[in-house]
Symmetry: C2
Subunit: 277 residues, 2 copies
C-alpha cells in the first residue's frame, strides 16, 4: 500500500486504529476450539466485526509461532482473508526481525512477499544492512523500533550518546531517516512515552508512527493524539487485548466491534479538531 | 543442556565448532528436491556427516520461515532428528527475537519448549523484560546479540555512551550480566571484530561467546581463538556456508564432513596449546 492510499483510507474511515491480532489459543472462547484452525476462525470473526472501524491489522507473529506449523498456517489464512475481503486494510506483520543482510532478505521474503503483509516491524540493533532488505519490495513498509512501550525501553533506548547529546532511540531515528523516507518507513513509539512524541515530531514531522501500548499497557489515546497527530494524521494507534478480548463469550466479535467503534469515534473527533477530515 | 555438559562435550570432541544450518532450498543439490522435505533431507545428511566434529548446530530460522509452514515443519524435523540421534549436540535457534514480555514468552515457548532448542539468539534493543522470559526455562540459554559481524554493527552497537564512556555493545553486556550468569547466557561477538575480544574478555572472562563470521564473512579462526578462548574454552565458533555448501554435488555431505573435520582439527590444536584438553 502506498502512503497516499493509507492517508486516503484514514480519511474515508475517520480512523487511525490498528488492531493487534495477538490471538492466544488459551484466551479465545472455548467453543471455537472445535474449528480446524481456531485461531483463524477467531481472527476471521474479529476482522468481520471490526473492519469498518479500523484501517490496519497487526498480527503478532509470536502468538502464531507458539503453535508451530498450524500457527503459521493460521497466520497465512488470516492475511489471505484480509487481502481478499478487505484489500483496503493495511497489514503489519509484527515480527521484530533484523539480522545480517542475507538473512534479513529471507525474512523479507517470508513476510512481505510470501505472506504478503504491507509492513513488518524491524529491530534496529544490527544497523543499516539488517534493515535495507526489508525496504526493497515495492509499496511495502518498514516499521522500525524506536522507543517501545515496555519498561525495558529504559535500559538501552534511553541511553545518552556522546558527542551527539541525544538518546539512542533518537539516534536510531536520525540515522535510519537516511535509509528511506516517510513513504517507506514508520517508527514504533510507545503510547506510554506520549510526552516524548512532541520531541520526536520535531525530528520526523512527516512520518507515520505506530503507537502500541494504549489500553492494557496504560497509554492514553487522547494524549497520544494531541502530541502525535500531524497534517495527514501520521499515526496508527494499536489496540490488541482491549478489543479482541473485550468479551470472551459467544458475543466476542460483537463486543470487539463495539470496542473498535468506540475508539474510532474518539479518533474521528481528534481528526475533526485538527481539520484533517 | 547445562554449562558442565557443554564443556564436557567440547573436551570429548576436541571441538568448539557450531554449524549454521542456513539451508537455502535454492542452493542445495537439485536431486534432493524430489524428497518430501528437501531442506530436512539436506540437513539430515549434513548432520550425519558432520556430527563427529561439531558440538552445536544453529538453524537460521529465517531460511525456514521463507518456505512458510513447510519450512517450519522442516525446522521441527531437523531439531527432532538432532534431539533423537545426537542428544549430545547443543542446538541454537538463530531467531534474534525480542519483544514485550508477554510476546517474548510466546517466542520462548515456540523455540525453547515446543521446538526444544537449547538456546535462542535474542536482540537486546527492548531491554530487560524482553529478554527475561527466555531465561525462565530450565537448562536453556539466551545468546544475546552484543557485537555482530555485519557492517551495520557500526551504526548503533559502536555508539559511545555518556557518562559511562563505553560503547553500546559493552553496555549491553554490562547490564545484561545482571540478568543471568555464564551458565544461562552467552553473547554473540562477530569474528570480524576479533581484536575486540580482548576487551570483551576483561568484562566477561567466564561466559561463552558465539562467534559468527568465520569464513564467508572474512573472520579468522586463529585470531578469534587466540583472543577469545578461556580456561573452559568459552567459544562456539560458527561456520555455515563454508561447511554446508562445501560442494554442491551428490558428494555434498562428504565434503561438509571434510570441511568440518578440518576446522575441528585446527580447533583441537588451539585447545591443546592452552591445556584445555
Amino acid at each position: 500500500m502506498t502512503f497516499e492510499e493509507l492517508v486516503h483510507q484514514i480519511k474515508e474511515k475517520k480512523s487511525y486504529l490498528c488492531i493487534g491480532l495477538d490471538t492466544d489459543i488459551h484466551k479465545i472462547p472455548k467453543f471455537l476450539l472445535n474449528a480446524d484452525y481456531p485461531v483463524f476462525e477467531f481472527n476471521k470473526q474479529i476482522i468481520d466485526a471490526t473492519a469498518p472501524f479500523t484501517i490496519a491489522y497487526k498480527p503478532n507473529v509470536a502468538f502464531y509461532e507458539s503453535l508451530g506449523a498450524a500457527g503459521w498456517i493460521s497466520l497465512e489464512m488470516t492475511i489471505r482473508y484480509l487481502r481478499e475481503k478487505y484489500p483496503q486494510c493495511f497489514v503489519i506483520a509484527d515480527a521484530k526481525r533484523g539480522d545480517i543482510g542475507n538473512t534479513s532478505r529471507m525474512y523479507a521474503a517470508a513476510f512481505l512477499e510470501n505472506l504478503n503483509a504491507d509492513a513488518i516491524t524491524v529491530a534496529p540493533y544490527m544497523g543499516a544492512d539488517s534493515v535495507m532488505p526489508f525496504l526493497e519490495p515495492k509499496d511495502k513498509w518498514v516499521v522500525l523500533l524506536a522507543l517501545t512501550s515496555n519498561s525495558g525501553s529504559d535500559d538501552f533506548q534511553m541511553a545518552d550518546l556522546s558527542p551527539q547529546g541525544i538518546k539512542l532511540y533518537e539516534q536510531v531515528i536520525r540515522v535510519s531517516m537516511k535509509w528511506a523516507d516517510h513513504k517507506k518507513m514508520m517508527y514504533v513509539v510507545g503510547a506510554t512515552k506520549a510526552e516524548m512524541l512532541i520531541q520526536i515530531r520535531k525530528i520526523i514531522p512527516q512520518h507515520f508512527l505506530l503507537i502500541p501500548g494504549v489500553g492494557a499497557q496504560g497509554g492514553s489515546l487522547k494524549e497520544v493524539s494531541q502530541n502525535g497527530l500531524n497534517k495527514h494524521c501520521g499515526l496508527l494507534v494499536n489496540s490488541s487485548r482491549n478489543i479482541i478480548y473485550a468479551q470472551v463469550t459467544d458475543q466476542f466479535a460483537k463486543a470487539a466491534g463495539e470496542a473498535a467503534a468506540a475508539m474510532q469515534s474518539e479518533m474521528s473527533g481528534y481528526l475533526k479538531d485538527l481539520g484533517i477530515i
